[in-house]
Symmetry: C2
Subunit: 457 residues, 2 copies
Amino acid sequence: MTLDAVLDQVDGDLESAVARLLELLRIPSISTDPAYKEDCDAAADWLVDDLQSIGFDVSKRPTPGHPMVVAHAEGEGPHVMFYGHYDVQPVDPLSLWSNPPFEPRLEDTDNGPVIRGRGSSDDKGQLMTFVEACRAWKVVHGTLPAKISLFFEGEEESGSPSLVPFMQENADELKADIALICDTGLFGDSTPAIVTRLRGLLGEELTITGPSKDLHSGMYGGIARNPIRVLAKIIASLHDASGRIMVPDFYDGVEELPADIAQQWNDLGFDNSEFLGEVGLGVPAGEDGRTGLEMIWSRPTCEVNGISGGYQGDGFKTVLPSQASAKISFRLVPGQDPLKLRESFRAFVQAQLPEDCTVEFKGHGAGSASEMSTDHPAFEQARAALSDEWPNPATFVGCGGSIPIAGHFKDILGMDAMLIGFGKDDDQIHSPNEKYDLSSFHKGIRSWVRVLDAMSK
Amino acid sequence: MTLDAVLDQVDGDLESAVARLLELLRIPSISTDPAYKEDCDAAADWLVDDLQSIGFDVSKRPTPGHPMVVAHAEGEGPHVMFYGHYDVQPVDPLSLWSNPPFEPRLEDTDNGPVIRGRGSSDDKGQLMTFVEACRAWKVVHGTLPAKISLFFEGEEESGSPSLVPFMQENADELKADIALICDTGLFGDSTPAIVTRLRGLLGEELTITGPSKDLHSGMYGGIARNPIRVLAKIIASLHDASGRIMVPDFYDGVEELPADIAQQWNDLGFDNSEFLGEVGLGVPAGEDGRTGLEMIWSRPTCEVNGISGGYQGDGFKTVLPSQASAKISFRLVPGQDPLKLRESFRAFVQAQLPEDCTVEFKGHGAGSASEMSTDHPAFEQARAALSDEWPNPATFVGCGGSIPIAGHFKDILGMDAMLIGFGKDDDQIHSPNEKYDLSSFHKGIRSWVRVLDAMSK
């Protein structure tokens, strides 16, 4: 039977598929750091070559930033658009990696074999699950089960500055019946999940300047304004004792979770202590009176991602620094307007600034949250197909991360997006020692074969 | 007349004196950074050679850290011990230097010629004023006006870890009738000042650990503890709205300034706006109801000298960091016990730590404040001598900086210490573009000639 033949092909070709992924992982395509611009380009070229070898009509498309890769292949059935990103996060602190981040390898662990390296899970490994599914189908049938388009960007980890303009300029080409996105995870270890709710992201960088130059804390300590203290006070004022965010109007438009969704989530039996215990924590740090899943899936957040000021080297320097800066990001939920909140945050900071300090803001990504409508038949077809591959039935979940592309497919192209991914909570994405379970990769490929098969019926 | 002959010798030899200072300034003797250990040693060697050329019996003395330089010369009159330090502060941010910090040069400025380079004022330039005074006297008279000992350390900018043990082990050799220290400044531009009150210093470094590794703020944001936020909250809690420091028992033993001293200080006509205006500030940031001179001379402080955590590179990284750290220093006044306050500060931090965070402390220098007794005749002799050299009469002042050596001379060797220096507020010590006015250097040498002459009578 045709499905089994393709699944067998996937199983038999797994070793080569891993080898191909390791090739892609060796390219240090860190999009946020200009030093790696050529590597991002090289990763795009690698994808172009690989997709050509499968028979896609593929092109590398320039943008003001890193290039897009767009590919098309004819086929029977619906027109499916698949999205992934080939760029990766920075790797610091390098010293915490057990193996160089861009010398990926297949490693045996107590939990089975894993593919270790930056991007193995987020998102190179995940996007290759779909590419390998197409390759296997093509090998067995000489054709694909649907008209398939692929759309890979190289700026997802740096706010996707070129994404919206590119989608607008190429709307006709990129429009399809439905979008598939592989940048999310399983629920737990073996429950396939289809994400129907995503948080948005707003990034802000602020630099506070006090004295016009660094000062000696002996000569000026006590009388001169210290920008580190000013910054710390502002950061401390962002949350109240209950964990509520104090930026004015921050919760405007934020609605309580619908009862049925809340029920589904409670049925998942999410264990706060277990989830936090894996990363050395024990106490949920979010708003009082919220469940763990609400804190990460349906409630907005404000976090400090980086802070810097004064002397940070070895030893001690009794300096009163001229400047102090912080990178702050907000996870947003449906109903919140990123640009309105950016203004609101900046006004909140300005209002607390001592009269002889100045602040400079630098805006980073601003993406709205999104909620999928599950009316499109593909959602139920995929749920059934995934349930066939995995030990547990598939479920609709939320995702704390920000994948603005899902909202863009809806807003710009009028397409529903279905987010299916095979990452695990312990993949350490955005951290040292990122990995992707070989089983995630293998069953991920098989899952897409099944989903494509189901959608083509 | 003998004094004039020596002053003429100083004037005539100024060019060579500057050349000698530039040689010493070219040695990057940054004591706090292990990378410069050999340079500190080289600076000590340079001093040994120079003092030998004057006729001092000099030796470089090893310590667990950087070496001490001790020199002696016989002479009529009292036994005078002179202290200075040949180590310098780090130079970052390098980009803000108009000229490389260790390629010193004589520069013409609107305020007259200056010697520009790291250490030009703090403290190589200042210590050389005394060395040059001795050299001139020796040239003219073939002898010195007093029995003179010199004591130079190379760890003053890194907490002087070897100083106390060395002074204890060599107490007999280092004891003299009085100690002279040249590591302070003029009051304003032309008023010679003898410091009779010095603040102490307590340095603490703390690192707060939350999650066991860096986390993705999408997956964990909202539920996971963020150590940067914990650190910011603690820093914000160090002062209340009135600028008072909230560490328990912090003000134990702190006394109000004696009325006569307060009066002397008020008579100096210190202008807060002018003092702060020079560094781009306008509003005194210390405790409410205190004068500017109290804030920098007689009130204790708590300042953050450095803070670090999370992603600090270009662009943006949505990470929840595992750790955040800060370097915090306290300027202390007479009556405060540094070690007791260290414990009190650590308990204050511990008490605010969420249950799933840990903190690691690293103690840096801990030196008490000191108050000189001005009973020793040298104080009045010096005040008169300095008044002869400068346009304004000399005055007794306080100093916001920490020069623990003054207290050690009293505690360990039972000697009074007299602090006389020629630095200016705009010397930018501990900052980029440090300089020492040529007039400070020239009149500083002449001042020591006069002081030695007065003391020898």
